[in-house]
């Protein structure tokens, strides 16, 4: 394999690796606009010029494959490369509006970062603002994206993403020379269901997320790594939040799962968390209750309705719960109720977990942890309809249900009806849920639990990859992570004293469940996929990738 020397440091890389990839592996920063690890190199921004021994002039690191014995000098060490990069940066700023104070990208803008960098910055400008080329501003590109063509550096990342990744090919340049301008096809709104990625891959403030625009300056944000709960793909994402409010979700790069992308539905899934009022306090028969009393009552009433009458307990868990929650749920049910029906699917979409919705990321199954539930021994069972029949026939003692409303899309009317009917028919019912929803109103005891963005845990995606998510924001009022609630229920009647801390629960799972064997929670939590642009350039040195 070829060995390449970059800035005096050697690295052995795969044949066919480009210089910039080798530098990224080494951790040597090479400035770039058009290069993106998940797009084909284009070599048009000329920002990654490096000096290579034996070449008469600087070459672009993104499109130059390494050969054995190559000696590369980046702008950090080579005056030739530094002069070239400074020249390019100066050119980029000739017609740039330099309106950082009102630009939403400020703080995470490559152009800004490079300008401030001592090795690339060109601290002068010879052009007055009135002499600049003016282009379209605030162009409406549909519900996701707003374009400011003046800020564009013509790197064509968006054009290539649109053409080669999603295939919608809705963006292109028009005109020539310094009048080149990015436009959408026939200046129409973007149809792309992955349009939100344009704002992520745009290295400057040209393509901005309409959702995040003007919301918060990025240096105010806190970052938490998490996993998308929108479908069974399990895209790696970062929750950007401020003051306990989620401001946006952006993808983290994971070449094995989602590369650098995230679908728009997943990106906006955090908005679903505000779709209905949250359950803030435990409720018992429609009255607010205290946790200490309500857990005891729940356990007692469930047992009275089942063990006392010799009837089984129907235990329904959601495939949106974490592995840890599902594990504790199962342990509680198995320990406390000798006769039980343990199920997890609300509708009977048994085979949907692996089915694709499109060719990129989205899948039909809108639960993040269906595979985990299967691995943990949950079955599809008789389903809601079957349980309702059992209840109607008086063959069901009580119902214990853990329910998270879907973050992408909505539960079908049919499923809602079935849930409503089951809750009505059940003599006794305990519901652990996050939101007050009309079809959940029939529950006798309501226990508020933390939603997806509020709890830590692991999810198993459609391929069986176990991934770790952090809790980003706090739960409202008295809501608690479901794992803790289940732990309390177990302690109630001394079915055991289970660990509820996710790391310890996971250790237990890894010990007992074959699919999890050999996995270590700490490794999962630290194996956080990297984000792009390269980390370490977070505003104010914030490191969003260590989690919270």
């Amino acid at each position: 394999m070829p060995i390449v020397t970059i800035d005096g440091r050697q690295i052995e890389v795969e044949p066919g690796t480009s210089v910039i990839q080798a530098a990224d592996q080494l951790g040597v920063e090479i400035p770039r606009f058009c290069y993106h690890p998940d797009l084909e190199p284009e070599g048009n921004c000329r920002m990654c010029l490096v000096e290579v021994d034996g070449f008469p002039k600087p070459v672009v690191a993104c499109a130059t494959p390494v050969v054995d014995g190559m000696v590369v000098k980046t702008p950090h060490t080579s005056p030739v490369a530094s002069r070239a990069v400074r020249g390019v940066l100066e050119f980029l700023l000739v017609n740039h509006p330099i309106d950082c104070p009102i630009c939403d990208k400020a703080g995470e803008c490559s152009l800004q970062d490079f300008y401030m960098h001592p090795d690339y910055g060109q601290h002068r400008s010879h052009v007055d603002s009135k002499e600049k080329v003016h282009k379209a501003k605030r162009v409406d590109l549909g519900p996701r994206i707003v374009l400011d063509a003046e800020r564009c550096v013509m790197c064509s990342r968006c054009v290539r993403f649109s053409e080669n990744v999603t295939g919608y090919a809705e963006l292109q340049f028009i005109r020539r020379g310094n009048h080149v301008e990015l436009v959408s096809f026939e200046e129409q709104a973007l149809q792309d269901p992955y349009a939100g990625n344009f704002a992520d891959i745009c290295p400057v403030g040209a393509l901005l997320s309409r959702d995040f625009r003007f919301k918060r300056r990025v240096w105010k944000l806190d970052y938490t790594s998490s996993i998308c709960a929108g479908c069974s793909t399990g895209c790696n994402l970062r929750i950007d939040h401020y003051d306990g409010h989620i401001e946006r979700l952006i993808p983290r790069r994971n070449p094995d799962v989602n590369r650098s992308w995230l679908c728009d539905e997943g990106r906006l899934s955090y908005k679903q968390l505000a779709m209905a009022p949250r359950v803030t306090h435990p409720e018992q028969d429609g009255e607010k209750a205290l946790w200490v009393k309500v857990t005891a009552a729940a356990d007692e009433r469930l047992r009275a309705a089942t063990l006392g009458k010799g009837l089984p307990l129907a235990a329904l868990a959601s495939a949106s719960a974490t592995n840890e929650t599902l594990w504790l749920f199962r342990r509680y049910v198995e320990a406390a109720f000798p006769r039980h029906l343990l199920e997890f699917r609300l509708a009977q979409e048994t085979e949907a977990v692996r089915e694709r919705q499109d060719k990129l990321l989205r899948r039909i199954d809108k639960h993040p942890n269906t595979m985990g539930a299967l691995h943990l021994g949950y079955t599809a069972g008789m389903g809601l309809e079957g349980l309702a029949r059992e209840a109607e026939a008086g063959r069901l003692g009580a119902l214990l249900m853990l329910y998270y409303p879907p973050l992408v899309g909505e539960e079908s009317e049919e499923t809602k009806d079935r849930i409503r009917r089951l809750l009505e028919l059940a003599q006794e019912s305990v519901l652990l849920t996050t939101h007050h929803l009309p079809y959940l109103a029939g529950a006798k005891i309501l226990l508020p639990v933390a939603a997806w963005s509020e709890e830590e845990g692991t999810y198993t995606n459609y391929r069986g990859t176990v991934q770790h998510a952090n809790g980003a924001v706090g739960s409202p009022s008295a809501a608690r992570p479901a794992a803790e609630v289940l732990g309390d229920l177990m302690r109630q009647a001394t079915y055991g004293r289970p660990e509820t801390e996710p790391g310890r629960v996971f250790a237990e799972i890894a010990e007992k469940v074959p699919a999890f064997r050999g996995l270590r929670y700490k490794e999962l939590a630290s194996r956080l996929a990297t984000a792009y642009p390269p980390e370490g350039r977070m505003p104010y040195g914030k490191d969003g990738f260590t989690g919270h």
Binding site: R46, V60, F91, V133, N178, H179, V180
Partner: protein, 454 residues
């Protein structure tokens, strides 16, 4: 005056296949078909033919780079996007002897093993498209091009594609992109077109004149071509001369022909009885020559190179006494600013910037240091772009300013080296970039920072 290529171009009937064949058209192709591909390439190599589009790369070597793998198709593209300012030689050839061009395409395609060839014609040459299409129809009907060319068993189909009038489509990879139906953004090399060209297949792109030469070489033998011209620049060259001459037009001269003799005899001397001031020998993308520099030169690659310029495409632009060089340069700079495709940063922003500074200078709003700025911008473009357009745009700017410095300095004084008062922050208020105008005018330009040395 040589007539290797233009022997029959004066006769309008040459466009007709019968007339042309009567004069030996397609005999070269017939001869090539009788030989193996390698022999054709060797023959062209032996003739010493160099690319006539501007770069002067040996054609035989270019063809020998093609190594098609199993299942790959090879393409020959004829670059008829003649858009270099001052160049109209291919126009002449295609208008008056289309069959010679077609024969050249056929020879080239055979030599590299291509079964498909395209002629990429400049958008403004719509009238030629008809001529070429008619010639192509005739040749196809006569069985010269098509299935089993001239009964040899070699298949060739030739397509004709009209561009939309962009300079960048004359650039090899830009042309390929345009032909693929994409925006004519040049591609980063490597990979070169010989490996990844049209439709990602091995491709050769040749100039019209080059292919015409190849056809004639096959007809007359490499010897006949190599005999003409100088040792390193074999054959003849079409020169399209324009500007301040009495008889502008296309002339074919043998390589090594004295430049001054060409101007006074063929071109009829400088118009209006004026004196020669400057000459751009090979299209605007090559450095300009002053009259003194041009005097001893001959028309061939090495002689031009020795004077620091290039023969280029042979688009000669002549400036007579009294021409304002800054105005001429502005025109050229505006051309490049207008034609920069906008793909890579230095060219996109730099060409526009240079044109804008020149416009400012000529409007009388220049500042001292603008000339230095022009040169510095040029340095930042050169060698940092994807294709040659960036470098091409710098050549005229740099050579005009260096060689006609007084004219430019009359517009804006050059920056002097930093006077002490400027370092210490005392002294009179300055303009934006330098000392007050009066002071700069009095001071002698000294050896400034390295970038600004003229």
């Amino acid at each position: 005056m040589a007539d290797f290529l233009t022997r029959h171009t004066k006769d309008p009937a040459q466009k007709k296949l019968d007339t042309a064949r009567g004069r030996g058209a397609y005999e070269g192709f017939r001869r090539a078909l009788a030989m193996s591909r390698q022999e054709v390439v060797a023959e062209i190599d032996a003739s010493g033919l160099r690319g006539r589009g501007g770069a002067g790369f040996p054609t035989g070597r270019k063809w020998s780079f093609i190594h098609a793998k199993e299942g790959q198709s090879v393409y020959l593209l004829c670059n008829a996007d003649e858009s270099e300012p001052g160049t109209f030689k291919d126009h002449h050839l295609m208008t008056f002897d289309p069959h010679l061009v077609l024969e050249g395409v056929a020879v080239g395609a055979y030599a590299i093993g291509a079964h498909r060839a395209y002629i990429y014609l400049r958008g403004e040459y719509a009238s030629i498209a008809e001529t070429l299409a008619a010639a192509l129809r005739e040749a196809t009907a006569a069985g010269i091009i098509g299935q089993s060319c001239l009964g040899s068993g070699y298949d060739l189909s030739v397509g004709l594609q009209l561009g939309a009038g962009a300079y960048i489509c004359g650039e090899e990879t830009g042309l390929i992109q345009s032909l693929e139906g994409k925006r004519a953004y040049p591609r980063v090399r490597p990979p070169f077109p010989a490996v990844h060209g049209f439709l990602r297949e091995p491709t050769v792109v040749n100039n019209v004149e080059t292919l015409a030469c190849a056809a004639r070489i096959m007809a007359e033998g490499a010897e006949a071509f190599a005999r003409l011209g100088t040792r390193q620049s074999a054959g003849t060259k079409l020169i399209s001369v324009s500007g301040a001459v009495e008889r502008p037009g296309v002339y074919e001269v043998e390589m090594g022909y004295p430049l001054m003799q060409f101007l006074s005899h063929e071109a009829g001397g400088i118009s209006g009885g004026r004196r020669l001031k400057a000459i751009i020998p090979g299209g605007t993308s090559v450095p300009v020559l002053t009259a003194e520099e041009a005097a001893p030169l001959t028309i061939d690659y090495e002689s031009m190179l020795s004077a620091g310029t290039m023969l280029g495409s042979g688009g000669m632009i002549v400036f007579g006494d009294g021409t304002s060089m800054p105005h001429a340069l502005l025109r050229i700079a505006e051309f490049y600013a207008h034609e920069s495709c906008g793909e890579c940063t230095p060219c996109r922003e730099g060409t526009g910037w240079m044109a804008w500074v020149l416009r400012r200078l000529l409007a009388g709003e220049g500042s001292p240091g603008d000339l230095g700025l022009l040169l510095r911008v040029g340095d930042n473009i050169e060698g940092r772009t994807i294709c040659g357009l960036g470098d091409a745009s710098v050549q005229p700017v740099r050579s005009f300013i260096r060689k006609f410095r007084q004219e430019f300095e009359a517009l804006a004084p050059l920056p002097v080296a930093f006077p002490a008062w400027q370092l210490h922050g005392h002294g009179p208020r300055t303009g934006r970039f330098g000392p007050p105008v009066e002071e700069a005018a009095q001071s002698q330009p000294v050896e400034g920072p390295p970038d600004y040395v003229l």
